[in-house]
């Protein structure tokens, strides 16, 4: 592996922005040179026992916590959480190859947290409006109504009242 690698990072909060290009060079002993938009930042990093990283960039001291899920990296820094999609060139190519699988038009409502399904208001075939309540999830003594993200028809219900669901579990499909 070369000591310098090119990465592409996209701030997930900015939907329409193109990915920025960053070049990372290892200088050894936790030191890196990162080039972004023509400016090279020298940074020194120290991985802390609990996995966070202390980073000193041009004198500025940052304690950084990472929340990683695949190529998505959440960076918690001075109280601000920013999520990025980070990939090197190889991964970008891999993604291009599998891109065809994403289906347009179909929207899956997923459980936003682990909890219990206390109500399902719709059944397969129902026509729903945008914002119409579909299911109610109870978690931590709060009931949360999940609404339809779009107008359409319910094509699939993959849960039932009383079910315990994990974070991200698909519940209802609207097409």
């Amino acid at each position: 592996m070369a000591r310098t690698t090119k990465y592409f990072a996209r701030n997930l909060a900015h939907k329409d922005e193109v990915a920025a290009e960053l070049e990372v060079e290892s200088l050894g002993q936790g030191r890196y040179a990162v080039t972004l938009e023509g400016h090279t930042f020298e940074l020194e990093s120290l991985v802390l026992p609990h996995g966070a990283v202390s980073m000193i960039v041009e004198g500025q001291s940052f304690s950084v916590e990472f929340d990683e899920k695949g190529d998505e990296v959440g960076v918690l820094l001075r109280g601000q959480l920013t999520r990025f999609d980070v990939a090197d060139e190889r991964k970008l190519r891999l993604r291009a190859a599998t891109e065809g699988f994403t289906v347009e038009g179909k929207q899956t409502v997923v459980a936003p947290m682990p909890g219990k399904i206390v109500k399902v208001f719709v059944k397969v075939g129902d026509v729903v409006t945008e914002g119409q309540g579909l299911v109610v999830v109870e978690a931590m003594k709060m009931e949360n109504e999940l609404k339809s993200p779009k107008a359409g028809t319910v094509t699939q219900i993959v849960t039932r009242e009383g079910a315990t669901v994990e974070n991200g579990a698909p519940l209802v499909v609207v097409e």
């Binding site: 500025q60 304690s63 601000q80 936003p112 682990p114 309540g133």
Partner: protein, 508 residues
């Protein structure tokens, strides 16, 4: 009354810890109860003794009076402190404790009866000459009755649980179309929180202030007030930030509200710690809202400015002691509390249970953290998502605000989503800083409070993200290098590593 020696705390999480701390200071033994989901909770480990009272769902554990009393008997506890929520305002439970010969640390059942059912309480207060918010006199029998009543008093209205407070089972309704949905969720929430799904309705006052008075009574007929708390910063009808003194109160208003609160408490023969909640309108008229017949979540701010340990007073009064002071006490300095929740403010405060990977709480001068979290703790998804009550004290309000900013900056709690940043946005918001914010403040300013992205930090974050990706790649590379060394690892590991190296080379 007999001297208390062992206290069972019929609650969980931070309030259980809070109560046990004072018990320990007073040399009392402590008994925890825990549900099956709370075996690893801090309160279970913090107590001298711990007994399991049932499965995760509170209706099958923390709300089952018999299971709590069984644990009390097994442990030989001579008193039960209910904390807040759960059985704390359940008069039946108070009577059951009495019958079992166990001291209930709280008001007598009769006072709870008089205040617990919210519509009855309103009637009692009107009788005592206390001003109340317009609303109906008894819970609704069905949704149609509710609809008719709403039609009568006009929108917006508040649908509220008759069985208890604390924002549970409470919904603001602006249009008739929303009443069905609100009726459904409010009742179901009320049932799960209080075991009682009765609801009633009040006229929604336009952006009032929520100001409450802490009262304290003893068994000798003395009742005093310990000043107010400003609790207008609410999201989903639940308090998020509290402070004392209230920035909108004059000494005259404090005295007047204090007097009414004491009158209300005396009218029901109140003993122990209680809170009389008022709504204050734009003209500074105040109306009785409800009385919480228990210790309040936000009690630490009162403790900061009075120097009183309210739990110690509760124990003192429960043993027949006379109130240690009988005159109102002037507040010293200023205190603010924020409630740190496991929730995501950007998705309508969706709870975010999960495993805390790391925590470092703020400390230093004037900072108090009441929490029950630890690194590696899995916040269960069965209970209230509050993680910590963080409170600060300083000589002046502005200094307290700046101290809270510092404390929030210092709070490290990772692995789950919290409202820490949102809380910081609240206390630094010009409206909060100015001090004249009403209950409409948080909903109205929601977008601003979510906070704009700090571009400079986002830029550094991106650099960090790229560095992290590179570090991971390096680590992977190092593993491969080890695997390739003679004697490093097995053949099959080497093979898959080789595959990976090939790809990397192409990519680089």
């Amino acid at each position: 009354m007999a001297r208390i020696k062992k206290v069972l705390v019929a609650n969980r999480g931070e309030i259980a810890i809070r109560v046990m701390r004072t018990c320990k200071e007073l040399g009392l033994s402590t008994v925890a109860v825990y549900s099956e989901a709370d075996r690893s909770a801090l309160h279970t480990r913090f107590a001298d003794e711990a007994y399991c009272v049932g499965p995760a769902a509170s209706r099958e554990s923390y709300l089952v009076a018999d299971n709590i009393l069984d644990a009390a008997r097994k442990s030989g506890a001579d008193a039960i402190h209910p904390g807040y929520g759960f059985l704390s305002e359940n008069a039946k439970f108070v009577r059951a404790c009495e019958k079992a010969g166990i001291t209930f640390i709280g008001p007598p059942a009769s006072a709870m009866d008089a205040m617990g059912e919210k519509t009855q309480a309103r009637t009692n207060m009107i009788k005592a000459g206390v001003p109340v918010v317009p609303g109906n006199a008894a819970p609704f029998v069905d949704v149609d009755e509710a609809k008719a009543y709403a039609q009568k008093i006009g929108f917006p209205v508040m649908l509220k649980a008759a069985g208890g407070g604390g924002g549970k089972g409470m919904r603001r309704i602006d249009r008739m179309e929303d009443l069905d949905g609100a009726w459904r969720t409010a009742r179901s929430e009320a049932m799960s929180a209080f075991g009682n799904d009765a609801v009633y309705m009040e006229k929604f006052l336009d952006q009032p202030h929520h100001v409450e008075i802490q009262v304290f009574g003893d068994t000798h007929g003395n009742v005093i007030h310990l000043n107010e708390r400003e609790c207008s910063a609410q999201r989903r009808n639940q308090k998020v930030v509290e402070e004392t003194p209230s920035p909108i109160l004059t000494p005259e208003m404090r005295a007047a509200m204090g007097e009414v609160a004491v009158k209300a408490a005396k009218a029901v023969g109140y003993v122990g710690a209680g809170t009389v909640e008022f709504l204050v309108d734009a003209k500074r008229n105040f109306y009785f809202l409800e009385m919480n017949t228990r210790l309040q979540v936000e009690h630490p701010v009162t403790e900061w400015v009075t120097g009183i340990d309210l739990v110690a007073w509760q124990l003192h009064v429960a043993q027949g002691g006379v109130l240690p002071m009988l005159e109102p006490i002037a507040p010293r300095g200023h205190a603010i509390e924020v409630r740190v929740y496991a929730e995501d403010p950007s998705t309508n405060f969706m709870p975010s249970p999960g495993t805390i990977s790391y925590v470092r709480v703020p400390s230093g001068p004037g900072v108090r953290d009441d929490s029950a979290v630890y690194a590696g703790y899995r916040v269960p998804n069965f209970y209230d998502p509050m993680l910590s009550k963080l409170s600060v004290w300083a000589p002046t309000r502005m200094e307290a605000i700046l101290k809270m900013r510092r404390a929030l900056d210092e709070y490290v709690l990772t692995g789950i989503t919290t409202n820490l940043r949102y809380l910081k946005q609240i206390v630094l918001h010009p409206e909060f800083v100015k001090g004249d914010y009403d209950t409409g403040f948080l909903p109205r300013e929601h977008k601003t409070l979510l906070g704009e992205e700090d571009k400079a930090l986002a830029r550094v974050s991106m650099i960090a993200a790229a560095m992290r990706a590179h570090q991971r790649a390096e680590k992977q590379q190092a593993t491969i290098a080890t695997a390739q060394k003679p004697g490093g690892s097995s053949h099959s590991a080497w093979r898959s590593a080789g595959r990976r190296t090939g790809s990397w080379k192409k990519g680089a």
